[in-house]
């Protein structure tokens, strides 16, 4: 299965992936209208320090502890992807409690959000990958 990976030696720490992610999942077709002056809620975040940077997003684990721990049945697997049913999520954050990768976060609506590989939104393929200026983030089989 293709997943999003980051090659940390190439990550510039520019945070463009965060903006592209927030835009891709905003449901708004104009990037300025989607993001300008707003707090963004990206599903990928750039971690790092003054020496090294790397983007962190869902690993789509083969044995996902978030799905097994979800108290509302909202987190589920679709063809290997881990997805969240936001109608079922109650924002208990048990998934954040258990994810060793820190890959889930709270959305602007109080439910959790995570990378779903840009399959259900209007973008064809992960927006973080498409917009990465140094090709540090890749979408491939490993």
């Amino acid at each position: 299965m293709k997943r999003v990976y980051v090659n940390e030696e190439w990550c510039l720490g520019c945070h463009l992936c965060e903006y592209n992610c927030a835009f891709a999942n905003s449901g708004i077709s104009d990037m300025v209208k989607a993001l300008k002056g707003k707090q963004i809620f990206p599903r990928i975040t750039v971690d790092g320090d003054d020496k090294i940077n790397f983007a962190v997003s869902c690993r789509h684990c083969q044995d996902p502890i978030c799905v097994k721990s979800c108290i509302s049945g909202a987190l589920h697997k679709v063809d290997g992807r881990i997805c969240v049913d936001t109608d079922k999520c109650v924002g208990c954050l048990t998934c954040i409690l258990v994810c060793p990768y820190g890959a889930l976060s709270v959305s602007e609506h109080g439910t959790v959000q995570k990378c779903e590989l840009c399959i259900e939104n209007s973008v064809s393929g992960p927006a973080c990958v498409a917009g990465c200026p140094n090709k540090a983030i890749v979408y491939e089989e490993r």
């Binding site: 997943r3 990976y5 980051v6 090659n7 940390e8 971690d47 790092g48 320090d49 090294i52 790397f54 962190v56 690993r59 684990c61 083969q62 502890i65 097994k68 721990s69 108290i71 509302s72 049945g73 109608d87 079922k88 109650v90 924002g91 208990c92 954050l93 048990t94 998934c95 954040i96 409690l97 258990v98 994810c99 060793p100 990768y101 820190g102 889930l104 976060s105 709270v106 490993r142």
Partner: protein, 415 residues
Amino acid sequence: MKQYVIIGNGIAAAGCIEGIRSKDKNGSITVVSKENHPVYCRPLISYYLEGKTSLDHINYRPDDFYKVNNCDVIYNKTADKIDTVNKTVKLSDGTELHYTTLCIATGSSPFTPQFKGIENVKHRFSFISLDDALEIEKVITKESKVLIVGAGLIGLKCAEGLHNRVAKITVCDLSDMILSSILDKDTSPIIEKHLKDIGIELLLSDSVDYFEDGKAVMKSKKVVDFDILITAVGVRPNISLVSDANGKVNRGILIDEHMKTSLDDIYAAGDCTEGYDASLKSDRVLALLPNAYMQGFTAGVNMASGSAVFDNAIPMNSIGLFGYHVMTAGSYISGNDSSLTDTQMEDTSAKKFFVDDGVLKGYIFINETEKAGIFTSLIRNQVPLDTINFELLKNIPTFTAFSEKKRRKQFGGVV
């Protein structure tokens, strides 16, 4: 063809079904359900009262779950007795079910305190089932005054669920602090203050002496006027099926890392069990939904002749209360020569770490939830803290605290 029987229809049973079907698509599965509902998300009953979920959303799995997994569910029946020689289970209506392997997932029952006069309280409830929530919903009005006995997870979530639907809520507890199973003296005052600010009346170090004429007279002599009583003083694992069959029990049904009981071909999972706590390094009842699922799944795989082990269970909780959020994990080991605690306190937030023998044993976070799973994972896997930059991590949940090699494995490969 194997005949699988599962006693109980909660989260552990759902995990067991999925575990069995991951290995065996053909064996028959029969589920005995005491409650007249398909498997639902038990911790969501407070969210139901609060209006954050509905009867359409509260089910744990899609409507076709049992059909897709080819399960027969027998509703409104309980199992009365296991015959381990003939490998049968006798149900409450007298029917007998034969099993090849059996899973006990009977959960727990609320403990009802025996206060004087409680039998005359007209509206009194426990709060652990969907039916409890539905019955409570029938009697509450905007004028209701609710007394909740027990300021633990169940009692306080109940208070949250009812808060906007009733006039007054009083919560009492014998303990001098709230959430005594997951917080400590340093951290509980933050939540206590928040609850008081919201308008919940808290009576700590106090309990009901007796009930009389719609009033509760407390041990402190204070009189609480109420019309709905909710008792939330704790639960007891349902162990009798196994103990009656001479299987090993303590507080819960004793299981090994395969979820096997001391009885041949009988497994157990969920709140009825007592298993190994990897943070405490001893057995205890870990009545938590994630553990119930993982135990159930493990039992199911092993029942279907697979090989699965679940040996890193730890206590953990994520609980929202009126906009505040508490996350806790592990065991709060302190006071040993080898242990140390690290506390970062603010007015409305806190982080407290419990370290022993160079590994993280537990933590308490209030309103500090970001990437908390990094810490939970350190506890679950008992990671030696000298292999990471824990001083950095305590302040910022960042993966720069880990070695490059570890990071490459986590973010560069299939996990």
